[in-house]
């Protein structure tokens, strides 16, 4: 006979109750959102104001408060896919290696003679030695600078590849080190992008590394992708270079020299030494301020001890000479060193406004991006469009829902009603699971839910049709119900597993909205099989136990 053990009943109702409880906050989206925001603010600052307390009281803290995240297409905001030029870092690394290499090679002066750095393609460091016979010693000396690679895959290899050919010594980063460097560059870039977006104070940004060298950035509520690009796209690499001279053409840089334009004056260029004295990496703080003499906005900064020492040594040795402050390959100013700066702090004055000095200070504080970024994809969705889409999706979902409910009752009567109750629980479970895992609901995701509403009844239809058939031959309604369920099971399993395979493939290969769709589709399959097989069955069995009908009509 039809029997479901008590623990089974408890478990089924337990799961349903949990799903409904988790889904409920979404019905009061705005309230719960304000509650959550207020709680987050109080946690972060520790202070409570009346307004915050009022927001907190909008939603009882004992109830679940996780919400389904709304995707960019529903909430509006900006989306960027950036590619990090990881190779940039190799160049900087080798550049930084040069002084050390110079020192160790000089110690071997007797055997290798004088040394000269040669121009080389990006990612290579070439040194010419005057006594080619001493190449063996030169290579050994350069190798002594190599260190073991610090990464999981690169264990046992060293950081540098050193080759000597004729009188040219070539140093490159080893492959293992390049990989390890790429990895660090990406981690740093993601971290710095996150810091910059956080400084702008928007809600729930998504900042994810994608593949080997890409970062996906989604920021809801921001005005346009353009704004976002300005915020995160600036490298903000600050460097201090010795000045060799001023010129009016961008051509004609000598070996190991660079020519950079002045940020304000058109047609003014500075010839600088390529290797900087100090870089922004050694900054510990940066604040916007005002010049005490003329009241112009400026930016003050402070170096760490390493930077302070380098800066102090350089300035004391070069009093009277000009040096250039360079930001992202443009000379902000090129003052003359009046006295040694040993305190480790200084000011950048230029043609700043209050806004631009504040912005620069923020960028310097968050740190420079280790490499430049190219934007491969950018999307801006206005908030009104998102609101329209939600509204349209909501109406469509409700109409679809109502139509299916009526259709089911018209077709299967009381059993249709049971299927409908299960369907309502099904939708609640989908939202419950989405909230629980913090999934993002996109417009195609809403379509996925509507589609699930249509397809969720499939398992019930399979069972009901089977019961109808079994009623023609079986001995009594109870037996027919039992057979209907057991015999329809294999079709239900096969049909849903195949669809689930598709949802998985979509999830793995898809991105953005497609992935959002696959998540709701996948969750919908699992919950619809659960509600159709367990919940509807439990409803039917409970009804059957009470009513004990002699005949049933499906």
């Amino acid at each position: 006979m039809l029997q479901i053990p008590l623990w089974n009943r408890v478990l089924i109702w337990g799961v349903v109750a949990l799903g409904v409880a988790l889904a409920m906050p979404n019905l009061f989206y705005e309230r719960v959102e304000r509650h959550n925001d207020a709680v987050a603010v109080i946690e972060a600052t520790g202070a409570t104001t009346d307004a915050l307390a009022e927001d907190v009281s909008l939603w009882p803290s004992v109830l679940p408060s996780s919400l389904v995240n709304l995707g960019l297409d529903l909430r509006g905001g900006a989306h960027l896919l950036a590619e990090v030029e990881v190779e940039d870092v190799y160049v900087a690394r080798l550049d930084a290696l040069w002084p050390e290499l110079r020192d160790v090679l000089r110690q071997e002066r007797e055997t290798i003679g004088t040394i000269r750095r040669q121009d080389a393609p990006a990612g290579e460091l070439r040194v010419q030695i005057s006594q080619a016979d001493g190449m063996g010693e030169a290579v050994a000396a350069a190798r002594s600078l190599a260190e073991p690679v610090v990464s999981l895959t690169g264990v046992g290899s060293s950081t540098l590849d050193v080759r000597g050919q004729g009188d040219i010594l070539t140093v490159t980063l080893s492959e293992a080190e390049q990989q390890a460097t790429d990895d660090r560059t990406m981690q740093q870039s993601v971290e710095i992008v996150r810091r910059r977006v956080d400084e702008a104070g928007t809600r729930e940004p998504t900042i994810q590394r994608q593949g080997a060298d890409r970062i996906l950035i989604q920021v809801p509520g921001i005005g346009s992708a353009q704004e976002l690009k300005e915020l995160i796209g600036t490298t903000a690499r600050l460097t201090f270079h010795p000045v060799i001279g001023r010129t009016d053409s961008a051509e004609g840089a000598g070996s190991r020299q660079i020519i950079l334009p002045d940020i304000e004056e058109q047609g003014v260029f500075y010839i600088l030494e390529e290797t900087p004295v100090v870089t922004g990496d050694d900054l510990v703080d940066s604040q916007p301020g005002f010049d005490q003499q003329n009241g112009q906005p400026n930016v003050s900064f402070r170096f760490n001890t390493h930077g302070a020492r380098l800066f102090g040594e350089y300035t004391s040795a070069n009093v009277g000479a000009p040096f250039a402050i360079v930001l992202d390959n443009e000379v902000i100013s090129a003052p003359t060193i009046r006295q040694a700066i040993t305190g480790g702090s200084g000011q950048i004055s230029g043609n700043f406004t209050v806004e631009s000095s504040t912005e620069l200070a923020v960028l310097l504080r968050a740190g420079a991006l280790p490499a430049e970024m190219t934007f491969l994809e950018e999307r801006t969705i206005g908030p009104e469009l998102g609101a329209d889409s939600i509204e349209a999706g909501r109406i469509a979902a409700m109409v679809a829902f109502a139509a299916v409910l009526v259709f089911m009752i018209a077709s299967y009567g009381l059993f249709g009603l049971f299927a409908n109750i299960a369907l309502i629980f099904n939708v609640a479970l989908i939202f419950g699971v989405l909230s629980l895992i913090g999934a993002t609901l996109t417009l195609p995701g809403i379509a996925g839910i509507v589609l699930t509403i249509g397809m969720a009844v499939d398992a019930n239809v399979l069972v009901f049709e089977r019961i109808r058939e079994e009623l023609k031959t079986a001995r009594g309604p109870a037996r027919a119900i039992e057979l209907g369920y057991s015999r329809a099971l294999s079709a239900i399993t096969d049909a849903n597993i195949t669809t689930f395979i598709i949802a998985t493939i979509l999830f793995v290969l898809g991105s953005g909205p497609v992935r959002g769709f696959s998540v709701t589709l996948g969750i919908g399959i699992v919950t619809s099989v659960f509600t159709a097989i367990y919940v509807t069955r439990l409803l039917i069995v409970t009804w059957f136990d009470r009513a004990r009908p002699k005949t049933i009509e499906v």
Partner: protein, 322 residues
Amino acid sequence: MRLKLVPDNTSINFFKYARLTFGASIVAMVLSIAIWLMMGLNFGIDFLGGTTIRTESSQAIDVADYREALDPLNLGDISITEVFDPTFAADQHVAMIRIQAQAGAESVTPETIAAIETALLSLDPAMTFPSVESVGPKVSGELITTAMLAVGASLVAILFYIWLRFEWQFSVGAVAALVHDVILTIGVFSLLQIRFDLATIAALLTIIGYSINDTVVIFDRLRENLIKYKKRDLQEVMNISANETLSRTLMTSGTTLLALIALLILGGDVIRGFVFAITWGVIVGTYSSIYVAKNVVLMIGVKRDWTKPDSKAGTQFSNIDA
């Protein structure tokens, strides 16, 4: 009184017009491929690269004026389409402007967007730009590869799963039906020049999922009946199976279509292409599971004796719940 889409006991001979239906399917597929080759798909920026800008204005849209305003900018190929939707207000006029990928830039430059917006604002100073999307050629190339990979991987995964659970003949039949559905969908997208983008690929995969669902239910019953009626003709057993599951097939298609039509009419223009693809796929998929998948299995023939274990056919999993 119950609503019944199908009478209680049907005995429709689905093979009566087999030549006609199967022939029609083949003709439709050939036509689809021909249209596809001749007209091409209207690829969205996801696959071609480029920029789309959605404009909204309270004034009626004159595409020629828009074009005239944008012409001096020398942006290359520009397409301007007015969007109509029942959910729009009376004074809500929406257009989609698409600009080809600009040489030398991955995504669109801010100057280009600013220039376009300024040019359009001269037509209507109150015009708004609810969305601006730009995809670089590098990413769009990869997106095409990934999309084709997704469709291919799905077909292979299903081929494998059906082979595991049934017999290889069923796999071939099921996949033939899926290929039929996919090609017909591509055909209709080429014919109507509906925008084909990433969401359409998701729709294609959903169609595959829905159609296979339908086919598997019939196959499942076929497997059951092949054991029950050992002596009967394969074609007859197929007819019995299709008739027995017909009510379910139409019920499920019916409820799904109800939901989809609601979405198609009321869901807004942003996802209309996506929903249209799925709606079309549900109709074609239902047809193909009745008229294509079985016919292919019938042509190949299938093992009839399911009682003795046959080490040569199927796999150890094929009978686990039969």
